[in-house]
Symmetry: C6
Subunit: 313 residues, 6 copies
């Protein structure tokens, strides 16, 4: 007996969440990303990190009226705008509407060579200015490695990562930071995921020559969440994650009939034929007329002016 | 014949243990964590190390009247409080009641760069003060790497680890120290587990896109313990470990009957129908009426005002 | 409901693409390589990187009237010309026609030892001159490692890679840069693929002593693309990729008949024999005459003056 | 024909062995550990190295009148005493009886930093004193890494290992030295096992969530030995190894009968029923009464006042 | 439609090839090694690299009248001569006939220590002299690592490799350079295969305790070639590679008969018995006389004075 | 047709071999080790390297009248003598007879630290003296790593290995040098096997908890040899290798009969019973009397005074 445990299943009350507006994702995370905290999105090249981050900003601006800032270290503003046009996002309009700021930070080789690293303080100034200019509530940094790859060792990386996260939390913005996968590790240095409050892994595995996109919430401090790997799609409407639990048992039972194309068979089927929408298995040994039944069915569909597909092997 | 061996199975008398109050865990460890000694909890990001450690403190304070100290190097007091609210823990009340101290130690980059490492002596002072302030019996350090990642080599890490453990033992507190997994190793440096008296591994493997949480007692000096991998859950009531041995053979034989929904079938079944709670397999070739029997059964349940689930494939 | 999403599937409008003229490849990429941007082609030795890059230039010059520049760090102009002759490419004629410039850059050991690296600025000058001399629209650099292997660390490589890509984009040329695979990584340093806009992997795996060439579009910013692994061939006509989707269901139903070689069997088959182009399965236990039927069929074909293949096991 | 070979299988005469008193182990090693030589015991954390070493000393002191010395670099005397109490060992009594010396050597960080390594000569002095104080014949060093982790390279480690082993041999003591496993290697440096005369591997693999303890004699110069992996147990009586060869074919044939619980079945079985101790397989299709026969059997056992287990699936 | 593609399959015209005279190899490579270019032969110890290289020279000298030079860094002239005698090669006669030069270059430790590497210029002088002395057309360097293992980093190795290959090409000789395999890589440094025009891998895998020699053409610039793994043999006549394609369907149909040894069976078989050269399957349940039929067959063969093998299991 | 190939299979004439006297090994190597050349024996700890090397010397001294020298860097003369006594080798007598010299070379840490390596010249002097003192024809160095582990890099190791091998060849002795396995490599540095003329691998794999000793001739310059893995044994008579080819088809057909123990069955078997030495399969469904027939057979054997084994499952 454990007297101090509460026996009623009350709603979670600690952590505030920010909806991303990405279908499926908010279901898996039971509400979205942790509000006012930074989240890591890691994945290999081509996994969709930048698109995920950008959709987070665009949905925030358009659905939830939260302005956003995108700090890019690799793609120029023009390139970014072009690249996300395929998802139907019109960044220029959002910028005009003061809903979005794109800031492309180009780090010169000389900056790395002279100081041994890019200066975080300078970034904070620039970032703060961008946030304040539109009252941003969401921010993306793409990508962590551009900032941190010149740091000399793991202890320093850990300390600077903590400093960056601290600064973002104090600013009160919900942040998304992309980072690259290491060899056999979630992240390049294998420590970023320990410091972060929330870690999302985007994966694009090739198995038997077929590639499949999958997402996993590796870690999410302060909340329950779906822990499995979920398939996701990127199409012309953006991201969509397919949580298993959202596959509802909601198909209505069929009530309409459709002729089998064979009168006597229809007669045997209560005089009505097949239920529309049902799957019919025709079984029999070679030569007993399976293909012929199928052909009758298809032909009758065509005769009614309907379209039909006939697959023969 | 071995004359010096004691032939009677007497109770273990050497090591004192401290109950954690976590369901299942105290069964696996035959009593809890080693009292007055440090224990390592290792696991990858998102494995639940911090939650396990915090539940150890909260249960100690509420169930066993043992005040506790939580030293955090990554999460601020506010964040910690928020993050464990989802488990139903009210840290603020415990702090007010002098049952808990949260201490957030933020290590600056400059500290690492100047001294090459964070100073353990300073930590001991701060830690000693926190312990004494509420007469703490339990302590958590979250996480080892924050302290040790700047140490220059394995020999130094080993020596400092020994020093830290020695200090904790002299203080007489039961300590829990979280540490991160290395690549293909239990711990980051692969030596922490040799120095520790007790090592617990939290795991969150993904197999076939499904994630499962498992716990293992890797090592526990001075006692027998369960050595297998045990599944565990984290839900709104906290941790619960499922030791195999706790699955008792305690189901009572069913004595009540329930109608099959088909009068003649009930007659064949001694006039009573199925045993309530039993599993009925209906077997037959296609078209012999299996689905129909199931439908009758479900319908009769509904007719009695009971709820029924009907799965059709 | 997501009000901001466009419900109609409109054509992609952001990114311009440049057709390669390589059969199958333009289908997979929905139009070719990203126009005015650099693309990485990575693969192990013998994967076909150089041939792919050269075909990109030759097809551009001959099919799309786009002059091209090939910068080689490993093969001299004569060697290159010889090596691609097997694909039927006549580079000398293209050079005479001002459609192609070959430039062989030989990096001396002393250049590496003195400066620690090959000077990118010098390359830009030389490259710019080659581009301007024929108004090139396409450019190939073969291979990245020849330029970058002397760079001291990952942060510098990342910065220089960004500089090279930036320069190429400003020049407005569609660039193809070959790079070598690392151990268990796509690229030698494991970061090139993150910086690039488009990454193509050529693979030549040996499984069960059989080698198969496969291609994969690892990443393509700003567009949808086929993401699976596609087999490809290199033969005397160059590359050809076999996208699964291009296998059309376009076979006409057979209407001609061909004698089985056995009069009574033809009679049973409506007096006509087999459909020409169909596959006939002759089944029966040992000794029932399967081989004999096959032999009759083959013999009758020969008697008609047709050629036949008879495989016996 | 090989004339110089001795054709008779005479007993081994070269190497003297020291019985450990651990059940099963002395059978596998054909007599115990090499007398007057050092043996390595390697294994990962929690494998049971310290317990094995301590049982070697305790059995030596109590069964064979050989005093022993335990040099610990990690556990204090009090901790060691507590930790092995669970095996039923009373170290304090052995110390009072001058049968055992525990010596806890704590290596400070400063010792490592100043000299680059712990001084072996100092250890020899301290060790020699402990041995002479009780005329010890057995000695344990727990653990090698505590001594050697600060050595700068493999050549030095090899030389120092040779020096340590040489010193122990000259002292004439039978030594057991524990050492940690490396990644994918038997030992941390991968060379300790080459220098040692005898190497024992303790393993604690987890397969399918079940952990099993296994022991292997990797190497034993100068003698034949069992070479397979042998399961072993650690329980409240200490270690016990299960050599396959000790599973004798010594079951007596059953001669007593036990009723099947069904009179007519007993009649069919010569009027006597089953042999006591035999396994009865009852086979039949569903519904033919298999469970009923089992239930009769169990019921008749209970009726006779015997206890019975009935497993139903 | 691709207008610029040539529709006729014309012979390759670019690259000249040099026949090796090794059976099977010239078929796989469609003509031999690239004339006037260097080729890498890589493989692990015992793979047959030196033998392959030597047979290339010996066949060149004896079959194609091309004198050759063998530069050895590991085996003296006497040793080489002895080692290839098992293949039936008489090197001394070839040397007397001015068809072969053996040059053993012994690199002293001091040369490596003083200059950090062996001087390539000195090698070129020595090599040029050997080539000119007999007008050599073929050359072997055995082995690359002897020259390059002292080079300080990958960029230098790459540059020097390019310089060596350039020098060889300018000399116009067809060169074969052996090199060692790295761990999980084709070559020791993992870059040699990128610089080379042609790369041959010799393999000697052990699977299920059986070793099999296999060869693969990893890369061959400027030509098509067999890309699979081909088994090969080394016997007293040298190398022979077994290309799958050389297994012709050229067996003539058998026309001769041979008695089954059983008169009545012969009668059933048209009075003639079996076709000589055919495989007869005798099938039946145990005890139906299968072995007896086989024994009759064998006995009758022996009675005719023929030799027979009878395998019984 | 290849005119220059010799069509007759003449005996190998190049390389001289020295018989080891180890049963099976001389068959696999077609005559033993390469005379006057060094051979590497590599294997992990406990593989039997030292025993193999010592048997090579002992057999040489006793069977072939070739005195031998054993240079040990790890085991003292007394230890070696003790360790091989289990194989029935009396080293002391061989030493008295001037057939063997044991020389234990102990390398001090100071020698490594001062000179960075053990001096090879000093070893040559000492080795030369030992060889000359008894006119040794065979020599063993146990083990390479003791000499070479202090060398600073691969280029130096390669050069020194070449120097050592050169010196041994000039001395004209047949040498055996033991060396340790590396991680995933045949040897510690992965280059020793390339420099050596002959490489033997001893293996002691554990599969499914069962260990098996296997030997493989990885490389043998100048001769054909068995290339598979061969199981071998170490017992009280020394090594014996089991080449597959030595399992001759030489069993005589059985001619003697043995009663089945059942008179009527013997009658059915021509009145004689089973052939002695044959395997009898008794097949039947459960309860048809299989065990009973076996029991009769065994009982009749016992009745004849013969011993019988009856395995029942």
């Amino acid at each position: 007996m454990r007297p101090n445990r509460r026996n009623h299943s009350r709603p979670l009350n600690g952590l505030q969440k920010e909806r991303t507006g990405i279908p499926g994702f908010d279901e898996i995370t039971l509400g979205g990303l942790p509000a006012g905290r930074p989240t890591l999105v890691c994945g290999s090249a081509g996994a969709g990190k930048t698109l995920f981050a950008m959709e987070f900003l665009v949905r925030g601006a358009t659905l939830y009226n939260q302005p956003g800032v995108f700090i890019s270290f690799e793609e120029s503003n023009e390139e970014l705008t072009t690249n996300v046009a395929s998802l139907g996002f019109d960044l220029n309009q959002l910028i005009v509407d003061k809903k979005l700021v794109l800031d492309y930070v180009f780090i010169e080789r000389s900056e790395i060579e002279e100081t041994g690293e890019y200066d975080l303080e300078g970034l904070f100034l620039r970032l703060g200015h961008a946030i304040d200019s539109i009252g941003a509530k969401r921010i993306v940094l793409d990508t962590l490695e551009a900032l941190f790859s010149a740091l000399p060792n793991e202890a320093i990386i850990r300390a600077e990562l903590r400093r960056l996260f601290r600064w973002l939390k104090e600013k009160g913005v919900t942040a998304l930071i992309t980072c690259e996968r290491g060899e056999g590790k979630l992240t390049r240095y294998g420590l970023e995921e320990y410091v972060a409050d929330c870690v999302i892994l985007l994966d694009n595995r090739v198995e038997n020559q077929i590639s499949t996109r999958r997402m996993r919430i590796v870690k999410y401090r302060g909340t329950s969440h779906g822990t499995n790997e979920y398939p996701f799609l990127i199409d012309e409407k953006g991201f969509s994650v397919v949580p298993i639990t959202s596959l509802g048992l909601s198909h209505p039972a069929p009530t309409e009939y459709i002729s089998s194309g064979i009168a006597r068979l229809d007669t045997m089927l209560d005089g009505k034929g097949f239920y529309r929408g049902s799957s019919i298995l025709v079984s029999g040994t070679a030569g007993t007329g399976k293909s012929t039944i199928g052909a009758h069915f298809v032909e009758s569909a065509c005769a009614r002016g309907e379209r039909a597909l006939f697959f023969a092997f």
